[in-house]
């Protein structure tokens, strides 16, 4: 399988990339790790006229903590996230389960976020941790909260000519923990169901902040806001997590497909929410 013809622009700077995108118009598309886009082009479900390769832009490959945030540049590969010591909680937990080791060597975290595949892992993690997406367009840079960014299956609120240049994920200052439980059929498979959980505890051991998000069970990665509200202010307990799990299960509208029935997927959401929150709490208590 081979892609159809296109023009290639190799951008050296962010400005060049954005300009090339403006020039290319609707037929233009950024090329980051290529691990979603190239397979789609080979299958001939994507036919960009112009590809703007951002891989040679300097300064986008850092993953580091600064100003209380984990900053992830547009050229940080999934493998860099796995290898980084700067990560925490759900981010660290999810990274090894994205795709497979070779795909992780090319695919970028930002590319995945921009792609907005409801089966993609990162957007759930970002929803649970409350991250921002940094975008640069012809009129400059802006920050978009992930909840506003994710708009639908394969659609985001990113402007036509905007490039995602990085992510800002708040690093909890107190005790915190996170988990990413993913049911996949094999390595290299997208999630059948996955649950990202994030908990921060106050000095009394009560939950100060909570994040919960679901992958693959709705047409969009889903933040379970009512469960988050329920959790905050409470002491972690099995009963509490079971209650949150019911809310998570209710927030999931999965479909019957080859991966399994909707009823079962909802049951997995329930189970993984309980287990994920318990793991997050345990990690927080130990931190």
């Amino acid at each position: 399988m081979f892609p159809s013809r296109f023009d290639l622009v190799v951008a050296q700077t962010v400005a060049e990339a954005v300009e090339a995108k403006v020039d290319a118009g609707e037929g233009g598309r950024f090329l980051a790790g290529g691990q979603s886009l190239i397979p789609m082009m080979k299958m001939r479900v994507a036919f960009p006229e112009t590809l703007i390769d951002i891989n040679r832009i300097a300064g986008l490959d850092a993953i580091e903590r600064s100003n209380g945030h984990l900053q992830v540049g547009a050229l940080v590969r999934h493998a860099d996230v796995v290898a980084s010591d700067a990560t925490f909680g759900a981010v660290a937990a999810a990274a090894p389960w994205v795709a497979d080791p070779l795909v992780r060597n090319r695919g970028t975290m930002c590319g995945s976020v921009a792609h907005c595949d409801p089966e993609g892992d990162w957007n759930s993690v970002l929803l649970a941790t409350g991250a921002d997406v940094i975008a640069q367009g012809p009129s400059g840079e802006r920050s978009i909260s992930i909840a506003d960014f994710v708009d639908g299956a394969f659609t985001s609120t990113l402007g036509e000519d905007e490039l995602v240049v990085g992510l800002r994920i708040p690093v909890p200052s107190g005790r915190s923990g996170g988990a990413y439980l993913k049911l996949e059929r094999k390595i290299g498979d997208y999630a059948t169901v996955a649950v990202a959980s994030h908990l921060e505890l106050d000095d009394s051991g009560a939950i100060a902040a909570a994040g919960l998000a679901l992958t693959s069970v709705n047409p969009i990665n889903t933040k379970v806001a009512d469960a988050e509200v329920l959790l905050v202010g409470q002491q972690p307990s099995e009963e509490l997590f079971a209650e949150a799990a019911e809310l998570a299960a209710a927030a999931a509208e999965p479909r019957d497909d080859v991966r399994g029935t909707a009823a079962w997927k909802r049951q997995v959401v329930r189970t993984y929410t309980k287990r994920g929150l318990a793991a997050a709490a345990q990690q927080a208590e130990g931190s």
């Binding site: 399988m1 094999k186 029935t261």
Partner: protein, 783 residues
Amino acid sequence: MVAPTTPAEIGGIGHSVQRKEDARLIEGQGNFLDDIDLPNTLHMAILRSPLAHARINGIDSEAAMALDGVLAVVTGDLMDQHGLAWMPTLSGDTQAVLATDKVRYQGQEVAAVIATDPYIATDALELIEVDYEELPPITTPQQSLEEGAALIRDEKEGQTDNLAYTWETGDQGATEEAFAQADRVVTLETHYPRSHPAPLETCGIVADVNSVTGQATIYMTSQAPHAHRTLFAMVAGLPEQNIRIVSPDIGGGFGNKVPIYPGYVVATAASLLIGQPVKWVESRTENLISTGFARDYYMKGELAVTDEGRILGLRVDMLSDQGAFYSDAQPTQFRAGLFHVVTGSYDFGAAHINCKGAFTNKAPGGVAYRCSFRITEASYLIERLVQTAAYEVGIDPAEMRLRNFIQPEQFPYETATGFVYDSGDYPTALRTAMDEVGYEDLRREQAEARAEGRLMGIGIAHFTEAVGAGPSRTYDIAGLKMIDSAELRVHPTGKAILKLGVKTQGQGHETTFAQIVAEVLGIPANDIKVEHGDTDHTPYGLGTYASRSTPVGGAATAVVARKLADKSKKIAAHLLEAADEDIELASGVFSVAGSPDRSVTIQDVALAAYTNLPEGMEYGLDDVTYYDPPNLTYPYGSYIVVVEVDPDTGVWQVQRMVALDDCGVRINPMIVEGQICGGLTEGFAMSAMQWITFDEDGNCIGANFMDYLVPTAWETPRFELLATEVPSPHHPIGAKGVGESATVGSPAAFVNAVIDAVAHLGVRNIDMPVLPDRVWAAIDEAS
């Protein structure tokens, strides 16, 4: 294990000799089909139907033809002008090469583009417009056989319904009597889902037809190059002496590379018409949606049993989904392959088997995926049934088997369906595996786990296979008897070349077959070159599938080596000035009985064969043998799997997998174990994740490796291997086939293990693949 009789330098039977084929493969110097690059090669891409069932009202290929680099667009009408729009299948049906009237499954070949470059050929596909008139698709064999179902094969003379075949065997009367005497009848209905061999290398061809000389050199991924040559001659009407099939290094076959596919015929015709080589290499999607599916059997088995757990009889009803064309590759007499080996490893007198196959709007195939003609389905059914019976009668599944096994002294044993099992010791095999896994302890652990609310299961399968087709009185494919051959030439310096009718796809023939010669003649295995796959250079044979290489080709090799040993002894007698009958041969040394210091080596004899012969003897040291096996061989094994099931999600994980295999004499234990590990992995895959399914519209789900799940190293269980070695009494070196045993035997062991974990809740069946949602639903329903 039997100790080798030759020293390691010679590397005869029983030595784990390193593989000769590795040297080129580890340096990237293999020669796979797509690596063949002839001058002026054109590239073919195939346009396939997006619909499962539709009438073709017209094809417009003008825009495609206009594309720079496109030489031709081949349609069914063009093929029809050459009488090649349809071709025979290996099971006596016909199959469309390029659709002329209707498309009958999603992925069916509709047109082909020939271009200078594969990228351009693919571009051109998008420019072809086909006017389809959609017809309602039939996606299950049950629907297909309903009264009034639309006729899928309306082009087929005399075909008035969607029935592909019926076949019946066994003794109905005796079976009914057995059931009348039974204390109970245990029933199991289960589906063996559609699967695909999916070797890592897809299928392909480079057809190089010289329009002046008429010479057709056809490189293709073929497990059976000689049979393919003959069939090409018959289908395309080419004179057989002008056809040379070359099957290069093959990246796995597993049955996928047995049939002749439409793409091969179109590429050959295109090369003939254009006068340039034409290459076609399937994409993975094409591989999975159009070529060589396997299984898809709906089976109902009933066992007549006594309260003591004795099996009295077996009744089976089977309905197979054949897809749009009946293109199984199996012996002519047996419409459902060797499915009647379904009586398994058990001693009972009566069986009756009723089989039906139906056409549906799905891809054709029915190939023996790492299996000797439908034995996988049979073995699965009986092993699932016996386990079910154990639960119903209330005895341990291992004990149930031990009570019913054919006993060692009963061999040769004739089954109720007419197979004559050659040899075996089933109780020892099962007990050895049970000891290794710690069966009694596991049962105790299981009880404890249940008390704690955990679900642990122990599954057993004890399979018997029938492999090595086959005796000419019974076995043929499309009329060609299933014999195989070996030609051995020993050169003056004592080195040799062995030419085979069979063809390796990774099994290591270049090594093991040399070892057979080394065993007999004492020529070091490393001094023997093994040639295979080129029909101009090797003797006739039916090829490698159904685990037949060692049983048939290996036997031919032993026999031809023995013929040369006999001649060599005469030459040695001449050199040693002794009587022929006094010469003894061991590990390449010919000595005179009683005076071991008087000896010559096989190398001396080889030179003498061309320089210094006894009076009246013909020069040379070579011969050829065509081997017609007296019987099949019957490898068997005992597999035990331990799983833990997560009751909240249905996810199950293999804790242990102990596999005991008895494949008779092991020529190269290292290679045998490699075959077993590969087979176990495919068995695990089928039980856990690997299947092809379709939606109501006939869209194939499982058309690429994101949906058709091949396990990685991470999911694959860690196997523990054991062996016993009861030789085949009729095979010249006592060997049986082994390439497929583990795929045949292991799915039932994995499934039985999961069922065993939830059997106490009353669960008796979960269809494969045993997906977690199915497990969870079964638990949910039961409790």
